[in-house]
């Protein structure tokens, strides 16, 4: 199978006034055609920074330190800005947690979709308008003929997210990056949006990179999972493997502390301590100050991301190394 996105050993730092924020470190990630892949982790672990690195929408003080991001034969780390404009919205679509910040409040949503179409396909005005309407229908907006003339503030949160998805998929991208697309929405609306994304993936063959902290969504919609902790991928495995045999102590703890509506947890399994600050991450294994299974090498040596067991899983933990 061919990949639509392949990140190899990417390191991206933010050189802020307070020091270097190690937002993404030695991250490797692959998304195959038509596949739904999850990037999960807690707040501040670098998920959004990974997505923004792919789109090259980083703050000016961001610096790529190593690695490559390959999309359609190009390395986005070094691609000129002109090429990036074709990639953004053309080859890769992206939707965000808060749709309102990405919609122009002063323009009708139809116009905004049509503009994206014109920009990337060179279609004429009439053609682009027709495609905008078509795009709104594709995201199951009832009454699309009227909604094209609405302004963003006239729509509900769920509708806005649909409009953003319509813009993102209007040019048939081969990859759709969804950064916490439903965090701001109610559960019943979340279910609608997630179903929509999943259906579009089947209909259009668009691969999906779902960034979330909700393991429930991962379990329901994705086939492979990257677990991120403090700027690094700590585990990379198939969805069943992750949920049935989590290997990294952090993944294990995360699964234990996530509650389920269909099951009573007598006590809430707790990971002690706080997630680390990426300004001054702990030495050695980033998880060692909180890890229940910490042993000799952890505080000093950083474990590599290595194949674990017979499966395809990759784990960044000294325990796995010790097994081999």
């Amino acid at each position: 199978m061919t990949d639509v996105l392949r990140i190899d050993d990417l390191t991206m730092h933010l050189e802020t006034e307070l020091g270097t924020v190690r937002a993404v470190e030695n991250l490797s990630l692959r998304v195959d055609e038509g596949e739904a892949v999850a990037l999960v982790g807690e707040s501040g672990c670098g998920k959004s920074m990974t997505a923004l690195s792919i789109m090259r929408l980083l703050p000016p003080y961001a610096r790529f330190r190593s690695g490559s991001i390959r999309v359609a034969g190009k390395d986005l780390v070094t691609a000129p800005e002109r090429a990036m404009r074709q990639i953004r919205g053309g080859t890769i679509g992206m939707i965000f947690q808060d749709p309102l910040t990405f919609l122009n409040p002063l323009r009708q949503v139809g116009e905004q979709i049509a503009e994206a179409v014109r920009l990337h396909t060179g279609a004429g005005r009439v053609e682009a308008d027709a495609q905008a309407l078509e795009a709104l229908r594709r995201v199951r907006i009832a009454d699309a003929e009227n909604v094209v003339h609405n302004y963003p503030h006239q729509l509900s949160g769920g509708m806005r997210q649909r409009v953003l998805i319509a813009i993102a998929v209007a040019c048939r991208p081969s990859l759709l990056i969804c950064d916490e697309p439903t965090t701001a929405l109610d559960v019943t609306i979340q279910a609608q949006i997630m179903e929509l994304i999943d259906n579009l993936r089947h209909e259009l063959g668009t691969a999906v990179l779902l960034i979330t902290h909700d393991l429930g969504l991962v379990a329901q919609y994705c086939s492979r999972v990257y677990v991120m902790y403090a700027g690094q991928v700590v585990e990379d495995a198939g969805v069943r493997e992750i949920f049935q045999h989590p290997r990294h102590p952090y993944t294990q703890a995360l699964l234990q502390s996530s509650l389920r509506p269909d099951r009573v947890s007598e006590d809430f399994a707790v990971i002690d301590g706080q997630p680390p600050q990426l300004l001054a991450p702990p030495p050695g294994c980033r998880f060692h100050p909180r890890c229940p299974r910490v042993f000799d090498p952890c505080p000093s040596a950083m474990p590599g991301l290595d194949r674990a067991g017979e499966g395809r899983a990759m784990v960044r933990c000294h325990l796995e190394e010790a097994h081999q």
């Binding site: 802020t16 006034e17 307070l18 003080y61 707790v270 301590g273 706080q274 680390p276 001054a280 909180r290």
Partner: protein, 288 residues
Amino acid sequence: MTIETSSFTVASQPSGLRIFFRNRASAVGTAVLILLVLLAVLGPVLSPYDPLSIGVGETMAPPSLTHIFGTDELGRDIFSRASLGVGVSLFVGFVAAAMSSTIAILIGCISGYFGAFVDDVLMRMTEIFQVIPRFFLAILLVAFFGASIVNIVIAIGLLSWPESARVIRAEVMSLKNRQYVSSARIAGASTASIIFGEILPNALGPVIVNATLQVGQAMLLEAGLSYLGLGDPNRISLGLMLHQSQEIMRTAWWATALPGSLIFFAVLAANLVGDGLNDLFNPRARAR
């Protein structure tokens, strides 16, 4: 129960002072203000001449080593007079700004916190004060109650609060719905302690910025009044010096230019400091 093992450490923000002085303009403004204060305090002590006595030197002598700012048409030492004048200007500026800020805080807080009817009434009143031409009203007040320095300060203070009041009102309106304000209410705090203990400290940024800008404005207003001859005749102010030296402007440029530039520097310095403080309190300037 859990105890956070690794205690959370937030790298300290760049300190306020550093941000303030990183802005070169505000650093210069502060330096100039300090110099002016030193001038006002030390000038009369250092200068060997009595600012009031006539003929301490030749008349209309240009700046020289003996009279560094020169002398005026009555042979008075301009440096000693100007240093007194700077003191008066600074006094008027700071006291009037303090007064107008106090009024602004009271009106802004009450209007913003209680909203509804109270807000309507206070805001209409504010608008009235805002549309009155301030300078002319000041002239009227001074003409009516007499041109003592205290009256001038009061007139300026009474006339320059509306803008600050509006800024504070807006700030209070957004702050009063914050959860920590609700928490204080749930804890049973009284209205006064909510306004002055919870809301105001968080709204002080714009108040201070505005007050600093008011300092400059008040100094200008006082100079304007004195220049027109409506100032306190018993106090040497920079405006008064300009007023008295009008006729000799062509022959003795120093008699007007030097006090004039002191006004200029004082007002500029106050504004620079205000801008610097604005950067400091404006979160957008602190981003990154």
